[in-house]
Each structure stands twice: as C-alpha cells, then as structure tokens.
Amino acid sequence: MTPLRLNTDIALSEGYSEYEIDSDRNLELTFRASGKCDVFVRIRRADHIRIRSFIEEGAEVSILFWNISEKDAQIDESHEVMKDAKLTIAYGECNSASTKRSTYTALRGTNASALVSSASLVQSKKDYSMNVVNFAPHTHGEIRNYAVVLKTGVLMIDAIGKIVNGARKSESHQTSRALSFEDGQKSTILPELLIDENDVQASHAMSIGRMDEDQLYYMMSRGLSVEQCTSLVSAGYLMPITEVIDNEELRETLRSEMERKIGELC
C-alpha cells in the first residue's frame, strides 16, 4: 500500500496496485495508465482532493475508490479516456461521513468506453454529480448507482450522460437505484441525457423506494425476519462494487467489511 500525502503524479504500473490517501489538506493526484491496470485506492483521511486521470490509447484500467474517511470529504475528478481505452471507475461509500463528489469523464477517442459506478450505504449526506461525455464516435458511456439510504442519510445524485454532435454510433446508459427502509427519508436522483446526435443509443433507469411488499412477503415465507430480508437485499445492492477489481484477496476483505457494516446498520 503506497501512502499518498502530497501532490503526486503517478504512472500506473501493469497489474494490481494499492494506494492510500491520508491527508488533512488539499491534495492533487494525477494518474496515467497505458497498460492493463487494477487500482485500489483507500481514502483513509481526506479534505479536498483533486484527481485527474489519463487513460492512454488501448489501456484497460479499473480503479476502485474505497472511502473510509471519518471526516467529510470533497472530491473533484476528471478522467480522459483515449482511443480504444477502457476505464472502469467505482466508488465504495459505506463510511459515516459526508461526501461531495463531482466526477467528469470524457470519452475522447473512437471506441473508448467508461463505466462509472457507485455503491453507497448512506448514513449522512452523499452528494454526487456525475458526468460522462461521448466526444468521439463509437464510444460507450455508462453510469450505475446503487444506494441503501438509512434513517439519517440524505442522497443526491445528478447523473448526466452527454453525446456531442458527430459522436455517431455512441451509447450512453445509466441506472440509479436507491432503497430506503423508513418513512421520511430524502433521496434525489436526477437522470439526464443530453443528446446532440441522431445515430446513437441511450437509456436511463431509476428507482427510489422501499422494498417491494410482495418480495418481502416471499422472503419471509421462507423464514427470514424483516431485518434479515433487508440486509440480504442491501448486500445484493452494494456487493457487486467489490467485483470491479480482479483481486480475490481484496474482494474478500471488502465483502466482509461490507457484510459487517450492513449487519450492524440494516
């Protein structure tokens, strides 16, 4: 695990690497990747972080940001994805502090693709603004958010997929789902598709609400209590985020960490 306390330019090496952000001051980080890289970034302590990444031609990069900061954090990101490159970026937000995140992903070259996803166990305020813009033809952008909103939690997601004029045969898709268990919770999800080209495919799906009564009855009819049902379904919402990185050991660590949190809170 490489600690990150000062502004740093990082050339990502092939294969798996781990970083830990531990800073109570402003921090600027730049990632560059040209090969196949799996990156795990633990955010232990943060204030205001700026992150930029350059995913060069043909590169294939997965980055999982795992926020465990006890302090509220503001994170601004921009990602540039070049020709034939593939970026998967994921945010695991199961900590108790608030996060204000703005992330901008530009699909610059033909055949570039990006998946931006989040899994949040919302106990405080989680405010995300997510932009994925298709600038080139044959590009593929996707936003995927899954959140379980607890009693004290407030969720706000502004998800924007944009296809500029000339980005023919491009695709922009998004799915955002928030599950809540109690009355009087506030979740806001704004899905937006800004399309300035005819020859494209785009879609959005969204749901906010409590667990379906028929599903709950079905699960209970096999002997599970309401609490067990909600924690199984919550795990189903959030666990897939751990599969972003191809590293079995890490996956197990994160899964058990999430299982414990879900067990305690849901």
Partner: protein
C-alpha cells in the same frame, strides 16, 4: 408442542380490500395426509393458502387457524415458516441481487440452533438441484431472476426440499410445467413425504399431477365455502364431469357467476336493447 402436527381451520373468513372471499371455511389436516382443494377459479382456493401463510394483502376477519397447537394467526409470516408451514407459490417473486444459495442458507439457519456448515449446505444444494434436474449454476443465480415459468416452479420445490417443512401447500405448482417436469416435481414431493411425513394441501387443475401426489381427501371450494368433501373419487368425478352436477346437488352458485348475476341488474338497459334488436331481426 403436540406429538402429531395437525392444522385446524375453524370458521375462517378472509377479505381482500373489503371484499369477502372466504365465508367460513373449516378444514382439518393431520400429519401425513394429502388434501386436494378443488373448485372453479376465483372461488377462494389460493386465498385460503395465502391466508394460512399470512400474505399481508389478505385480512382474516373471523375464525382461527391452529397448527401444532399454536395460534398461527398471531404469528408473523416468518414464524409460520419456522413452525413448519411452506407455500409453494403460484407466482414466485424475483429478488435481484440475492443469490439462491445465500437466501436458502439464511432460511435454513433460522431453523437450526447452529448454522449449517458450508460443506453440508453445498452437498445438499447440489443433490437437490440434480434431483429437480435444474441447471448447475442455480445456486449462484439471483433468486428467480430471469427464470422461465417452469424454472420458477421447480425452484419452489428446491426450496421445499431444502427446508423440509411439515406442511406444504402447493398452489398450482404444476402449471407451466411440461409432462416430464410434472413427474420430476411429483417424485421430489413424494420422496420428501416419505422422508418426514409431511402433509400437503394441493391446488391443481391437472389430473396427472394429482395422480402422482395421490390425495386421500378432496374438498371443493365454491364461493368461499367448502361445499363438498370426499375421498379421491370426488376429484376423479370432477375431472371427468366438471362442476355443474355439484352446483345442482349442493344448490350453490360459484363466485364468478354470483357476481355476474348481480351485475345483470345494472346492465338491464343493454340487455333490453339487445333483446329488442333480436326481436326486430326475426
């Protein structure tokens, strides 16, 4: 807890959205017995099973259900399940994100003091999947998500086999199954019966399935009441002759027809027009 597990239903009245569906049902099911519930559609068969299981959409307004000496109606759905009741549903729900194996392991663990070991669970799951002739990846797929109608029905029986209830209710579990699948499901149910003396209440429209399950008792539900009870011969007679003889013999009108009769009064204008048109064309 009594030695012999008996289900006793007395004077059960059940409503859905203020409409009374069951109007006083009495039924006793002893251990090891198989009861077939028959009757035309919309006359309360599924409602009875749902009320026993505790579906929140159905309100019991009067009567009692006792199982194994316990007042079932005062128990939440999950406790009824742990008490030994199982309902194989007509329309099983899809639960995305929750795998069959996680779900079943949790359901097995609530009925044993010690958690089921992973090894024992996997072995049991594998043998049940092969018994029901389902795809091997079933355990890792999400609960019923993207399953065909037949797969969902078979998965209900997989769950039944794993949870080993003492009383199973089968709500048209055979619909959507082809001939081979009906036999597979029937065999699986019978082997569990042999193993644990499970009693069964079965709702089915198919003679073939009833032949496999061999109910000793037949009950006919018409307009929310059991109007006739008998042995297997009653089911055979209904299968060959339908319900008309029964309506005459017991002087009952099925719910759908009763409703239509009531509606006729309001539509008399249309009828009058139709009658006059008929008259004119003659």
């Amino acid at each position: 807890m009594s030695e012999v597990k008996t289900l006793e239903i007395r004077n059960l009245h059940v409503s859905v959205e203020d409409k009374e569906i069951l109007k006083g049902v009495d039924l006793t099911v002893n251990e090891n017995e198989v009861h077939a519930l028959m009757g035309p559609n919309g006359n309360g068969k599924s409602t009875l099973l749902a009320a026993i299981m505790g579906n929140p959409k159905y309100t019991v307004t009067e009567g009692s259900i006792i199982y194994d000496g316990k007042d079932i109606l005062s128990m939440p759905v999950n406790e009824r399940s742990v008490a030994g009741l199982f309902l194989a549903m007509q329309y099983p729900q899809e639960i995305p994100g929750v795998t069959n194996s996680d779900f079943l392991r949790a359901a097995m663990n609530v009925r044993s003091e010690q958690p089921v070991s992973l090894f024992r669970f996997i072995k049991a799951m594998e043998s049940t999947i092969s018994e029901l002739q389902m795809k091997e990846d079933l355990a890792h797929r999400f609960l019923n998500e993207g399953f065909s109608g037949g797969e969902k029905k078979r998965n209900e029986i997989v769950q039944m086999k794993m949870l080993k209830p003492s009383l199973s209710m089968l709500d048209e579990i055979d619909s959507g199954l082809d001939v081979d699948a009906i036999r597979i499901v029937g065999d699986a149910i019978n082997s569990l019966r042999k193993e644990n003396g499970m009693s069964i209440i079965v709702v089915s429209h198919y003679e073939r399935f009833l032949e496999l399950i061999e109910p000793q008792f037949t009950h006919v539900l018409v307009d929310g009441r059991i109007v006739a009870s008998g042995g297997p011969e009653l089911a055979v007679k209904i299968d060959s002759e339908g319900y008309d003889w029964l309506y005459k013999e017991y002087d009952v009108v099925p719910a759908a027809e009763a409703e239509a009769n009531a509606r006729k009064v309001t539509s008399i204008g249309t009828c009058a027009v139709r009658e006059s048109v008929k008259g004119a064309s003659k």
